[in-house]
């Protein structure tokens, strides 16, 4: 039962832990496969996710934050979450140190539709913690082998405060590059903040990316999505050209355990990436 069993995790080692935000409840975990075979098998695209597995605690579905162009590791950004009924795995991960060994199942789900995105202008809109698989996509597109496959890249990323922005070092690098337009905003700045202030939807309106040959990739908290979508409709983006990634409780990750459905689609295997046109076909049950 051990070989090719989709329920059995592969062993990985945490080789680096990055404390991402000033509230210390979001950390990135860089994982290295303990077996060369597993590493070779783990071929993924931006937008996919994996089940991080801690024996005794369980499994948690987390989007892959690294890009397949980054070699030698896979990275996940995890928020310590939870209620009295949930969040065991994320808590356990946050209590771990570099060198700890955990399990990994994946890659799971579909991905950002790379072929569909090719030759188009890409507008990436992210809010708060939901920036992880967007970062994967951006780094993938920015890679020297890939950059020419895509048109203009615009990134609009917002967080509540400067301290809550993820991947601060990378954001700084992107801001300096001239092949990507990076707009960072915070709901409310502090004494040292020199950048933009304002909510993501307002900033999108302000930046007003052109819908011409463009695709918007939007991920964020429900409230951000709710107010951002009308902005993009007003700008003239069609529902086919707005993509998002859904979140549901997932367990198996392979469309068997039956809990993550929205209508007849399973978010884990038919998604998590959907275009708005596809979502419109599904009952609002998420």
């Amino acid at each position: 039962m051990c070989s090719n069993n989709p329920y059995i995790p592969m062993p990985v080692e945490i080789i680096k832990i990055i404390d991402e935000v000033d509230t210390h409840d979001i950390k990135s975990f860089r994982l290295k496969f303990l077996s060369k075979e597993d590493e070779a098998k783990f071929k993924y695209l931006p937008g996919q996710f994996s089940e991080l597995s801690v024996y005794g605690k369980g499994e948690s579905p987390i989007g892959i934050a690294s890009s397949p162009t980054e070699e030698g590791y896979v990275e996940f950004t995890v928020q310590r979450a939870g209620t009295i009924q949930s969040g065991l795995v994320t808590a356990a991960l946050h209590d771990m140190n570099e060198g700890a060994k955990i399990g990994l199942r994946g890659p799971l789900g579909n991905s950002w539709p790379i072929e569909f995105l090719e030759k188009k202008n890409i507008v990436v809109v992210g809010g708060g913690f939901a920036f992880t698989t967007l970062r994967s996509l951006i780094n993938y597109m920015l890679h020297k082998d890939n950059r020419s496959r895509f048109g203009e890249i615009t990134v609009i990323y917002g967080a509540r405060t400067p301290g809550l922005l993820l991947y601060k070092d990378e954001l700084a690098v992107w801001e300096k590059r001239d092949d990507i337009k990076t707009i960072i905003t915070v709901d409310k700045g502090d004494e040292t903040w020199k950048g933009r202030e304002g909510f993501v939807p307002a900033v999108c309106k302000d930046v007003a990316p052109s819908p011409k040959n463009a695709v918007a990739v939007i991920c964020g908290p429900p409230i951000m999505i709710k107010f951002t979508l009308p902005v993009f409709f007003d700008l003239g983006f069609s529902k086919e050209n707005i993509l998002t990634s859904l979140e549901m409780r997932m367990k198996c990750g392979i469309g068997k355990c039956g809990r993550c459905n929205v209508g007849y689609k399973y978010v884990c295997s038919d998604g998590p990436v959907f275009s708005l046109a596809e979502l419109d076909e599904l009952p609002r049950d998420f």
């Binding site: 024996y55 060994k101 549901m248 409780r249 209508g263």
Partner: protein, 344 residues
């Protein structure tokens, strides 16, 4: 075709036990259930249908994946092997045999293949067992509504039916044929028996349970159309307690959870049946839950079976066995809800 005297079923059972594991109906406190047989005399075919469905032969309530010691490395975790002797699932009613085919589509026919379902399924030979056409249908059944006959051999490897005080056995698949010819406790059936067998299968189709047949696509579409009619869903779920009785007895409910169960340091990662009727079924780590209300969960259950499943896999995920109705603490009748929905 073979046959045996109804009284001699224990001989047949003993013979099957010699060839592998026999799982058959046994009379228990609350009704009949399929159990692994340790004494051939336990096998009891004088049942209408079992309390729990036979799905647990392929999809047991718990299935162990990995044994671990939480103080040791992840590398020390041991994957649990599934070493199966041949399994004989004996006395499966036609509607339940049909349920296996529906579950096959989900577990091994599309997308990722579930290795546990597949392996258990391959190891098993199914002995179907016709409903007795002389016994009126239980008031909760509605299999004929879903085009399943009272004596359909479909889904079985060997199909059995009662004729007076005899039990007729007919091979349906090559797997069944091989097994049947090796069972020495059986004798050859007569021409008369063969005619009776065919006649009974045909008669099974005119045997009617509740409701009239409705095209599955019509049902699926209707449910999709009224998905947002909250008033309707609230009304039909007024009585629902949101317990898991209906899903656990159901032959086509397959939702599960994956749980790490640890005692001291040793533990096992296993899958355990779960139910869409439970509040925490869709509770995300963050605390967000898209289905906090009873009506949302009952709507999910009904739409999943009669709409989403049709859309995704082309078939209704229900065989009309009536178990959910029989076991509902508040007498909710699933097809009555579908019936009402069609009138909305």
């Amino acid at each position: 075709m073979k046959k045996t005297n109804f009284q001699d079923i224990s001989d047949l059972a003993a013979q099957l036990m010699g060839k592998g594991t026999l799982v058959a109906p046994v009379k228990e406190v609350a009704g009949f259930n399929f159990r692994e047989i340790s004494d051939a005399k336990q096998v009891d075919l004088n049942f209408y249908n079992t309390l729990m469905s036979p799905k647990s032969a392929f999809f047991p309530h718990t299935e162990d994946f990995v044994r671990y010691d939480k103080n040791k490395f992840v590398l020390d975790a041991q994957c649990v092997e599934l070493n199966l002797k041949p399994v004989f699932l004996f006395g499966v009613r036609p509607c339940d045999a049909k349920s296996f085919e529906i579950m096959d589509i989900h577990f091994s026919g599309t997308g990722a293949v579930d290795p546990y379902w597949k392996k258990r399924r391959e190891a098993t030979t199914i002995f179907g067992y016709a409903f007795d056409p002389n016994t009126p249908a239980d008031g909760a059944d509605f299999y004929s509504t879903l085009n399943i006959g009272a004596a359909d051999p479909e889904g079985s490897d060997i199909f059995m039916m009662k004729k007076g005080d005899e039990l007729l056995l007919q091979a349906v698949t090559p797997k069944g044929e091989t097994l049947l010819s090796s069972l020495s406790s059986l004798v050859d059936a007569s021409k008369d028996d063969e005619k009776y067998f065919d006649d009974t299968i045909a008669a099974g189709h005119s045997f009617k349970t509740r409701f009239t047949c409705v095209d599955e696509k019509v049902i699926a579409k209707k449910l999709e159309d009224i998905f947002l009619k909250t008033e309707f869903w609230e009304k039909i779920s007024d009585a629902c307690l949101s317990c898991g009785a209906c899903t656990f007895v159901c032959p086509t409910c397959y939702c599960f959870d994956i749980c790490d169960e640890t005692l001291f340091s040793k533990g096992v990662r296993r899958r355990v049946w779960d139910a869409c009727m439970f509040t925490d079924f869709t509770l995300e780590a963050s605390g967000h839950n898209p289905r906090t209300k009873v009506y949302q969960r009952l709507r999910q259950k009904i739409c999943h079976k009669y709409s989403f499943h049709v859309r995704k896999y082309g078939v209704i995920s229900c065989v009309g066995c009536g178990r959910c109705t029989r076991n509902c603490p508040v007498n909710i009748d699933i097809f009555s809800i579908v019936d009402q929905a069609l009138k909305e």
